[in-house]
Point group: C2
Chain length 109, copies 2
DNA sequence: CGAGTATGCATAGACTCTCTATGTCAGAAA
DNA sequence: TTTCTGACATAGAGAGTCTATGCATACTCG
């Protein structure tokens, strides 16, 4: 684990969870939101974010529309599809299972 | 996250923690131990285990000696080095930080 | 006005890690 | 003797992330 930022394999879940709060968001906003909510522990690099969003588009977990930000810049707004919501639930459950298991191993003296 | 088994990036930590219980163990034993302690949630495939052990040898986190099992088969016994113990502490702390951060994101409504 | 800075999207290439599949060897069991 | 199991090991593929870079546009400040 040379990693400073994310745990590989968790980015999709983080994005899904962030979008599940209901508001449409564009990429930058999603990244900022994850960073803030995690109190600066998790940093989503652009080179990770956009490929992840592409994958999620292809899989139909999110939909995207071009729009304009408050500051009058063009941006792609993402929102969850029903499939994405389902996926979020699956991944959340799976994450909690694995996490609990890892914690068990770590805490076993 | 199509994954059934491990979270990528956590295997070294699991191995370090397992060896930190004090006994020398060989590869198979380490894998079995992780699987058992996690109540069958985490499965360490051989194709993941041995490369991981190699990496850890190279980095000096573990030492290995050839020996013989109870059942009279040859096996490589691994034990933690001081550097490995240190690494374990670093990774544990890092893991807990990241984990807490992810949980925060997941639980934020 | 022009230069720099920040916002926002995007991709290429490298790198790391895990998995599947396969191979080997030796002891145990049938 | 053949088969099974324990144990180690590697090759190759695939997934995911990071660094670096590029582009376009809007805002700011001299």
């Amino acid at each position: 684990m040379n990693r400073d930022e994310l745990l590989p394999g968790t980015l999709a879940l983080l994005i899904l969870r962030t979008l599940a709060r209901g508001q449409e968001m564009h990429g930058f906003e999603i990244a900022r939101s994850i960073q803030q909510t995690s109190q600066d522990v998790l940093q989503v690099e652009e080179g990770s974010l956009y490929p992840a969003l592409q994958r999620m588009l292809v899989k139909g977990w999110v939909k995207a529309e071009w729009g304009v930000t408050d500051e009058n810049r063009r941006a792609r707004y993402y929102k969850l599809t029903p499939a994405g919501k389902k996926q979020m639930e699956v991944e959340t459950e799976q994450f909690e299972r694995v996490m609990g298991a890892i914690v068990r191993v770590i805490q076993t003296a």
